[in-house]
Symmetry: C2
């Protein structure tokens, strides 16, 4: 099934060496202080080749995206009986926010992205692309028609919630409050 010829292997290899070079340099000196030329040089390819593998400078840092989406849809689709959709999403994000403590490089990466406006915007854009897929899964789960507004809204809000929570010091508590709001509504604890 996964029979990759030499050609494909070499292609992936170049791609990886570019991404690796980019990661190293960005981590060391910041996103804005590293030019594409330098990355290409480090990866021993031409700038043209670099852009044949990646559509933009920002994209050099975000390679794996398919896994994230399937994981996201999975936790909704295969949540245990009795667990609400919002709870499933909450738990998923809390888990992800725990920050792979085994590999501290991940925290550095997050800090790089969060502190670089261009990267922050790009990452957010990528993340929000999952909105439609998530909305469809939610609609399927509750038997609503595709394109239902409430499902689209929940999908959008839940995805936004992740970024909202990430910026907070106490993420778990923040997740409880934000997803509590989504689950039970603003007027649940509030008088106005």
């Amino acid at each position: 099934m996964t029979e990759l010829g030499r050609r494909e292997r070499k292609k992936l290899q170049t791609r990886r060496s570019i991404a690796d070079a980019a990661l190293d340099l960005f981590m060391a000196r910041g996103f804005d202080d590293v030019g594409v030329k330098e990355i290409a040089d480090r990866a021993d390819v031409s700038v043209t080749t670099l852009f044949k593998h990646f559509p933009s400078k920002e994209s050099l840092l975000f390679d794996e995206d398919e896994e994230q989406e399937s994981a996201l849809l999975g936790v909704v689709r295969e949540r245990p009986a009795g667990k609400s959709i919002t709870q499933a999403l909450r738990d998923h994000f809390v888990e992800a926010a725990k920050g792979h403590a085994d590999h501290p490089m991940f925290d550095d990466f997050q800090r790089l992205v969060r502190t670089t406006p261009a990267l922050r915007a790009y990452a957010h854009g990528m993340w929000m692309r999952h909105q439609d897929a998530l909305a469809r899964v939610i609609a399927a789960e509750i038997g609503a028609p595709d394109g239902d507004v409430r499902c689209a809204a929940l999908a959008r809000f839940a995805l936004e919630a992740r970024d909202l929570i990430f910026d907070r010091p106490d993420r778990e508590r923040a997740a409880d409050e934000v997803f509590g709001l989504l689950e039970h509504g603003w007027s649940a604890d509030q008088q106005s």
Copy 2:
């Protein structure tokens, strides 16, 4: 109070002529098919001057932003007694979405922004900058501490809701559903 000297008047005048030239050209031929040079020429200024008035090509289209924010904060702060914050926001957005039918140019403008990715992203970014201010007003209204997570979440979600609603054919109905979700929660009408 508003005594503007000749200098300030001239400055505003050049600024306006730049913005006007940009609007005309963008409307006529689209955002991507008009260069800054051409805009500067049309406004009879140098490119350098153009960029001393506007930080980017996108910003040429978004001049007034202060009014929008104060209007937004106003509808929350000065909502009639008995009206919830979410309802006030809902009504405000529905009103704004009605699209100044008197001036059809506004609809063209909206279409230009919504169909140009760069502009859409920029406008969304601008819009979301109101989040902190809105969150603070909400917190003040319900007597919560500044920086309360639920208030920040409601602010964020409400702002996102506007864009969500704008894309729907029946905006009023969509507004009801989305803000109903925010007000009463996902589990209000849903079994899972």
